[in-house]
Each structure stands twice: as C-alpha cells, then as structure tokens.
C-alpha cells in the first residue's frame, strides 16, 4: 500500500503540486500523462531518489518520507531498463540480494525462483548484458527488481521500447506478476491503450498535478477535464454553456446547437466532450437523443476505423466509423448526412484552460 499526502517538490521551473494518492495493496495503478507531466519525478520521489519539500510518503503503513531509497524496499524499473553494463545477467539479477547480504545459497535459490517465474532461465547463461534484446533486457530488469521481494514495484514506462507483439506478451507478464505476488504496482506511461490494458485504476497527470483518479472505464468514458479528454483521444471537445435541466439531463448550448448530456452537476461545467467512436453518421435519420443534420467535410482511412468530419452548422464533429459500417453506407465528401449520439456518451467537462473548440 502506498499513500502520498500532499507531496510537493520543486525542480527548477517544474514542481509537483501537492499530490495526494492512495494505492491499495495488490493494486495495479497506472499514472498516465503526457511527457513533462511529472510522472517519472513522482515515481522517483516515491522510490526515495528525491526528498519531497512538503508532504509525506507512506509505504505499507510506514512513514518513509525521510528514509533513504535503500531502506524503502521498492523495486524500480526504468524505461531504458538501467541494467549494469559491467555485470553479467546473473550478477545483475542477484545485485540486490548481494547488497542485502544474503548467503550464496540463498541468492542462488532466489534468482532461480524469479527467473523461473518470468521464464528467462536461458538468459542466465548469457554473460554480457549488452547482447540482450529490448524485451530480454526488460525481463532481466524486472527480475532484478523482483528478486529482492519488494513491497511495491515502480515501473517507469517499462514497455516503451518494445515492439507491438512483445508488448502484448509483456502486458500478460506484468499482470501475472501483479496478481501472482499480490504486489502493489505503480506503472507510468503516456500510452492510454497500455493504461487501459493494465490498470486497475488510472491517475491522469498533467503539469505536476493529478487531474483525475478513477477506474479505467470511468476515466475513458467520463473524463472530468478537457485536458484529460484530449489526452485520452477524445476529439470532440466543445465550449458550451448550461441552458436548462431537462429530466435529469443537462441541455448545453454549443455554438448554435443544443446538446443533451448526462450531468455531473457538482461543478459548473465549461464544456462538453463526445468520444468519436460514439458519434454515428448515417444516410438514414437516427434517433439517439442528440440528432442533427450536417455535411461530410473529410474522410480519412485510419486502418482500424474511418475518421469522418461532419459540419453541423458551425460545429465540426469527428466520428470514427467501424470499417464495415462505413463501407456499407457509401458516404462521400460534400454529402448531406444524419449525425447522432446518445446523451450518455456526451460528457460535461470542467474548464481547465485547455483549448477547446469554440463554435461562434
């Protein structure tokens, strides 16, 4: 279990602005955010490489704020893996055990154990660390971190330099480690599909702040801020104003349109967002709750889906149509079409200065 209580720290021009977070034992927590959001610095602060200026860090009920990294019992894996280039694979994995003064026999046993769990027995005989492939390095780095049986595992973009297919295997391995050892994991990434594949909970970070902490479905379907929405791949972001409340639904004025949305209600919303997958475009009239007519402006093939831009009055919607639907509907640029989405898929946002489309 990890608890952060109002952790603040300045580095020159950048700072962590009071991070409070609780990650339960055995949870797989993903910190998601763009480059420069402070994810890695937060992770390094948890590991003890930096002391916070303010706030406290607790690991498994122990206040570790002023405890040096070597006595925190955390496992850490960097993006570039950080294997010791002057040591062999075996020496790398047993480094922590050696530092903790385990006997030779005990070291052998623990190394064997962790190597078997990750299925990398054959790498032990490879001397030079430099000859390993990216995936192998990553496994050795993970084995090295796990060999000392850490209380928590901190991963800093560990899958960043893996290709697509080894990434899928790595997802399974990380989940297995998390569940099999009931190990608390904090995983930093800027890739939202990776976050979605692994996370039990996601924390969205921006500019040294935790913007939103939630279950992955919630974060993806109901982003709270325009920043989170844009970062999570929501392309329809509009500034808007509340007009009235209509039977549990908020009616927002977006440009010249009235859009019904599921209201959060707690804060005054400054805008609205709709995931492009939720926007349907058709030649036949739709009845989804929010139904408009518009003109197709752009069609672009993205492989897995087709991205279609439709102008409804002065508002431009983006829709991601499944390939098959698109082929069946024979849409073409300049055509008048029907466009619709349900009120549940329209999500109100807190205005956080993030740039939103502002229909005149």
């Amino acid at each position: 279990m990890i608890e952060l209580k109002g952790v603040r720290r300045r580095w020159g021009g950048f700072s962590l602005k009071g991070i409070t977070l609780r990650v339960e034992r055995g949870e797989y927590f993903v910190l998601l955010g763009p480059c420069g959001a402070g994810k890695t610095l937060l992770l390094e602060t948890i590991a003890g490489f930096w002391r916070p200026d303010e706030g406290e860090i607790w690991i498994n009920g122990r206040d570790v704020t002023h405890i040096p990294p070597e006595r925190r019992n955390v496992g850490f894996v960097y993006q570039e893996y950080g294997l010791f280039p002057h040591l062999s694979v075996k020496e790398n994995i047993s480094y922590g055990l050696r530092a903790r003064g385990y006997s030779r026999k005990e070291r052998e046993r623990r190394v064997r154990e962790v190597v078997e769990m990750l299925g990398i027995e054959e790498l032990l005989d490879r001397g030079e660390v430099g000859s390993l492939s990216g995936g192998e390095k990553q496994k050795v780095a993970l084995a090295r971190a796990l060999a000392v049986k850490p209380d928590v595992l901190l991963l800093d973009e560990p899958l960043h330099s893996l290709d697509y297919s080894s990434r899928e295997r790595a997802y399974a391995m990380l989940k297995e480690v998390n569940r099999g050892l009931n190990l608390t994991v904090i995983h930093v990434t800027h890739d939202y599909s990776e976050a979605r594949a692994l996370a039990g909970r996601i924390g969205v970070m921006n500019n040294g702040q935790l913007v939103q902490v939630d279950r992955p479905e919630e974060v993806f379907d109901r982003p709270k801020t325009a920043f989170a929405a844009r970062f999570l791949g929501v392309e329809n972001l509009f500034k808007g104003k509340i007009k009235r409340n209509e039977g549990g639904l908020l009616v927002m004025k977006v440009g010249g349109l009235e859009v019904k949305a599921l209201g959060g209600g707690e804060v005054d919303p400054g805008g609205i967002c709709i995931r492009p997958e939720e926007v349907r475009v058709s030649r036949e009239p739709l009845s989804l709750g929010n139904d408009f007519e518009g003109v197709v402006r752009e069609i672009s093939d993205r492989g897995a889906f087709i991205r279609v831009s439709v102008d409804v009055g002065d508002v431009r919607f983006i829709s991601h149509l499944p390939r098959r639907d698109f082929l069946r509907s024979h849409l073409s640029v300049g055509e008048r079409v029907y466009l619709g989405f349900s009120p549940e898929s329209a999500c109100v946002l807190i205005d956080d200065e993030e740039e939103m489309d502002e229909p005149a």
Partner: protein, 402 residues
C-alpha cells in the same frame, strides 16, 4: 597436356642450371654462383607454382621484378651478394602486395639511405603500416582526405622521436645506463611520479565524484580554477609554490622544525610540484568518467538496497575505471615530464628531465642524447606495457572488480 607441362618445367629448370654452370661460373667464384643458382631456382619454382592458373600478364610482371632487382642491386649499387637474398624475399612476398611494400621500403632505404637504413626502414615501415591500416578501413573517401590533411602533423610528431631513438650506439646507451647519477635520477623520476599518481588518485577521485554529482553555484568557476595548473606556465607554478612552501615561509618553516625536512630542494618538493601540475589531468578524466555514467544506474542500485558507499564501489567506480585509469596514465606521464616548476622549487634531487637539462647545459648535445634516448625507450616500454595490460581480459575484470 600434363606431359607437355612437365616437359616445360624440366626445360626451364635445366636451362637455368645450364646458364649458371656454363656461363656464370666464369664471372664469379663457385660459392656465389651456387647461392645465385639456388635463388634463381627458388624464384623460378615460385613463379611456376603461382602462375599456373594465371598466365601471361602476371608472369611478365613477376619477371619484370627480377629485372628491376637485378638492375638496382647489381648494376646500379653493385651489391651482388644482397641480390640473391632479396630475390628470395621478393619471390616469397610476391603474392602479398602489403608485404611487397615493406620489401620496397627495405630496398630503397638500403640503397638510398645506406648509413641510416635501419632507422629509415623502421620509420617508413611504421608510416606504411599506418597508411595500410587507414587505407584498409572501409568508409567514406572524405574521411581519407581528412586523414591525409592531418598526416603531416602525425609525421612531425613521430619523426623527431623515432629519429632520436637511433642516434646513439648501443654501447653508449649501455655505458650511460651504468652511470650512477643517471640511475638515481631515473629512480627519483619513477618513484616521485608514482607517488604523485597515488596522491592524485586518493584525493582526485572523491573530488571528481563530488563535482560530477553535485550542483551548486559557481561550480563552473571552480572547475575552471582547477584547470589553472594546466594553463599557466610551469615556472610560474614553481614560483607560486616556492612562495608558499619555500624555506622562509611559515609552512616551509613548520616542516623544517617539526619534521626536520625542507620542502624546497627535496623529494617532498618534487612530489609537491608534480602533484600541483599533474593531478588536474586525473581529476578531469575521472570527472568525465563519472559524468558519463547514467545517474539512473546509481538510483537503481540504491533502490535494490545498496548504500551510497556500496553503490560507489560497485557501480560508479567500476564504470568510471577506464577513465580513471586513463587519467592515472596521463598524470603519471605528466609528472615524469615535469620540468618548469622543478627548476624553481626543487632542482635537486635530479629527476630525469632536470638531469637531462643539466647534462645538456654542462656537456652539450652529445652527452645529453643517450640520456634522452634511454628515458624515451623506458617510457615507451612502460606505456606499451600499460596499454597491453589494460587490454587483457583479466585486467578488465580486475578494473571492473567483478
């Protein structure tokens, strides 16, 4: 076909032998003739073996070589005894153009630079091997052009030293080696340089590590200050040290009263001057070494349970070891060659550099030459040894302290 070949061979060997027995026996004594016959037969034999597949053109080049050798050595230089020897060499290296180059250098230096043929042979062979190595390297032609541009500098640096090496007879060198004052100067040099390196190592490495890892105001300025000993003329360093540590100064007085030694004009003074001028080399080399280590490696080590001290000895130091070793070699050699500050602070006891200078000013070049040569040979030998040691896997393992 086979029969005709064999017949041809028999004819060729037969006719060469016949020429030697019938014609040449009148021109030279029978011993020379026999040697020449053997060389010719060897030459013919090689030629026949190699030209079996490729006839005509190559065969005529091969023969042309014979003619050129004959003209150069027998007709031009009149060295008929050298001819069979070089002919055998020629036949032996004919198939390797690289070795042929060395042979050409050998022949030319013997013919054109007869009194200096040994030194010119070695010098030119060395340059030839450099050129071969560079020319053999695959890569852009532009790089070769750049190398060619820098080649004169290379020559200028290497020539005087190589030339000097062959200036004295081995007997003179042996006699110099036996001189008591030379031996004590050599001992002083090696001893003080080694002590200097150890002192620089002991204080320089921690300082380098701290400077590489810490960030504070004025760090850049401090770094520049540390390079002052490299930048200032060494006589000025000597004067500064003398003002600080000389006989009439508080520190010098303290040493004289409590320990009964004087810094100026003693081994202590030599070491002090050498540490001053040469320790920055080790410091900067070690600092670069530490700076090039990814700090993440040290962090990982800490997170795995290693204390800062253990991390330093198990991660930072092994990874910076090659740089530190390089720095030690530089410091050691800089200390050996130190002269300017010693002239001021500790002219006695003689080190090799002050001794050479002293001999030169008193007795002139001819006396100083063998001293210089001997020292050069010893230094080169030590440097080659150090390089060789560093490349050994066992040494690498030791440096990395597995």
């Amino acid at each position: 076909m086979l029969g005709r070949d064999k017949l041809g061979y028999a004819f060729a060997f037969g006719s060469v032998t016949a020429i030697h027995l019938l014609l040449l026996s009148r021109l030279m004594d029978w011993g020379t003739n026999l040697v020449n016959l053997c060389a010719d037969l060897f030459f013919l034999c090689h030629g026949l073996i190699w030209s079996r597949r490729s006839k005509g053109f190559k065969w005529s080049i091969y023969l042309a070589g014979y003619l050129i050798l004959f003209l150069l050595l027998v007709v031009y230089a009149g060295r008929s005894l050298l001819f069979p020897l070089l002919l055998i060499l020629y036949a032996a290296v004919y198939r390797s153009p690289k070795l042929m180059g060395y042979l050409v250098i050998f022949i030319l230096s013997i013919l054109l630079l007869t009194p200096y043929w040994v030194q010119s042979l070695i010098t030119f062979s060395l340059f030839y091997s450099v050129l071969l190595a560079v020319g053999g390297a695959r890569g852009e032609r532009f790089h070769l052009v750049m190398f060619a541009l820098g080649f004169p500098l290379l020559c200028f640096i290497l020539f005087p030293l190589l030339y000097l090496l062959f200036q004295s007879a081995p007997q003179t060198l042996a006699a110099t080696l036996k001189r008591g004052d030379f031996r004590s100067a050599l001992l002083t040099s090696l001893l003080t340089a080694t002590i200097t390196t150890l002192i620089s190592l002991f204080f320089g490495v921690p300082l380098a590590y701290a400077m590489a890892r810490m960030e504070f105001k004025g760090k850049r300025a401090l770094e520049s200050l540390l390079s002052i000993p490299i930048l200032t003329p060494h006589t000025i360093v000597g004067i500064a040290l003398l003002v600080m540590l000389g006989p009439k100064t508080p520190i010098g007085e303290f040493f004289r009263r409590t320990l009964g030694v004087s810094i100026a004009g003693s081994h202590l003074g030599v070491v002090a001057a050498q540490v001053y001028v040469s320790s920055p080399f080790l410091f900067f080399s070690a600092m670069n070494g530490f700076q090039s280590i990814d700090p993440k490696l040290e962090r990982i080590s800490r997170s795995l349970g290693a204390s800062p001290l253990r991390t330093f000895f198990k991660v930072s130091l092994p990874l910076a070891a090659p740089s530190i070793f390089e720095g030690c070699v530089m410091t050691w050699s800089r200390a050996l060659s130190e002269m300017g500050s010693l002239m001021v602070l500790a002219y006695h006891p003689f080190t090799i550099s002050t001794f050479t200078y002293d001999v030169f000013t008193q007795y002139g070049l001819s006396e100083a030459q063998p001293v210089a040569i001997l020292f050069l040979i010893i230094c080169l030998w030590i440097f080659i040894l150090l390089r060789w040691i560093r490349e050994q896997p066992a040494a690498k393992a030791f440096i990395f302290s597995r």
